[in-house]
Amino acid sequence: MREVDLAVVGAGPAGLTAAIEGAKRGCSTVVLDMNPHPGGQLIKQIHKFFGSREHRAGTRGIEIADTLFHEAESTGVEVMVRAEVYAIHDSTLEVAQTFGEDSPILPSKEATTSHSRSLSIVARRIVLAMGGAENALNFPGWTLPGVMGAGAAQTMINLWRVLPGERILMVGAGNVGLIVSYQLMQAGGEVVAVIEATPRIGGYGVHAAKISRAGVPILTSHTIVGASGESRVERAVIAKVDPSWRIVPGSEEELEVDTICIAVGLRPNARLASLAGCKLHYSPSLGGWVPIHNSRMETTVPRIYIAGDLSGVEEASTALEEGRLAGICAAASLSKERAGDPEEIKAIEQRLLSLRSGPFCQRRQDAKQELIGIAETQCPK
């Protein structure tokens, strides 16, 4: 058993910034992540980010992951990889850890005799930052090998350098669908089409323009009718949909593809939070079931905080800010002053507000406010 001031679950942008802020304020801090590399989904984002300089615009995700990991190490955070948290009860996290010699971080001494161990960590404060999970889409043939999440394909090409298929249909023209389509092309794949059920492309114009320039059709008001093949995807049938989402008869078209990528949004990966007893609220604008949390990112379970996509699916930039906020508030609650630095918290809140402005993001701001309102009656004072 180990005791720490702060345990963070998830080494993505939210988890790492939370840990950095905690460690800076004198907390003994450990970050646990089930993956072999720290950085969360940043390590497969090979495109440059948008936004303002303080959110590392113009930098590629993989570089941000590197910077954050080194900052965490230099502030004294211990990052444990291949460490899966499978239960939380009271202040104890139950962890199963395996060791691979390929892991970028050397395992600690006690582990050299074995390839795996289980351990319990008792933490005075916990920040959960497990991120999001891709939504699935059900259609005839959706379980065939060759149908996969767009994120799965992105992991395969950018992290493991294996192209999962040669002729690809992308379902969904949000930022994930557009970016992964382009990255599949960079990896040598042929994207046959990007289809989008709504009448409008959901992602940024720049991403759409890049793949249009490369000659890939983006078909709005189109859905997938089915996939078929002998034990694997060999073809897909797509069709037009009318304004009431019905398939337009006779508009079906068959495409010869070996891979179908699904990019229809993400949802908060709330399973561990739910297991830990955090109350959830259904919030469509934030991606589904979200742990209820107050403006200090604290959940309905005292001493458990959340940040990033787990607290509502947004962007890496908001995850960085929420992580900071959760880390500062968790650390402050352990100190005498308790409030944290009000100026600093205010500045973060201002930046979050500006990230959530604009016609599309305002919905998220409203949803967050709603959650905070619910939290006032349900979270510990």
Binding site: G100, L144, G146, A152, M156, R161, V162, L163, G188, R232
Partner: protein
């Protein structure tokens, strides 16, 4: 298919090769990569067949969440191949149903 050249990531760096056995056939894998990447690079898409309808399944989420890609690894069924790294001499088998001993 391996992505050898890449406009952003550069050429695929050389790493030590690891030999693994997939359904009795020896294939070359890259040290540190997950089983799913090694077998995808060799063109394998089917990881297992479901219990009742014997339907094929492959990689779906790629990050250890969905368990669609499980196979029998070194005799142990239900191993998530997308997050389990290859090791020298490892045996990997297509899984049928819940795997040996688990039916």
């Amino acid at each position: 298919m391996r992505v050898i050249h890449h406009p952003i990531l550069g050429d695929l760096p050389e790493v030590r090769q690891v030999k693994i056995w997939v359904d009795g056939k020896e294939i070359a894998a890259r040290k540190g990569e997950p089983i799913a990447a090694a077998i995808a690079a060799n063109g394998t898409k089917i990881h297992r067949y479901t219990t009742r309808r014997e339907e094929p399944r492959g990689v779906f989420c790629g990050i250890g969440q969905c368990t669609d890609c499980v196979m029998v690894v070194n005799g142990v069924p239900n191993v998530r191949t997308c997050i389990t790294p290859v090791t020298e001499g490892m045996t990997v088998e297509t899984q049928h149903g819940a795997g040996r001993g688990g039916r």
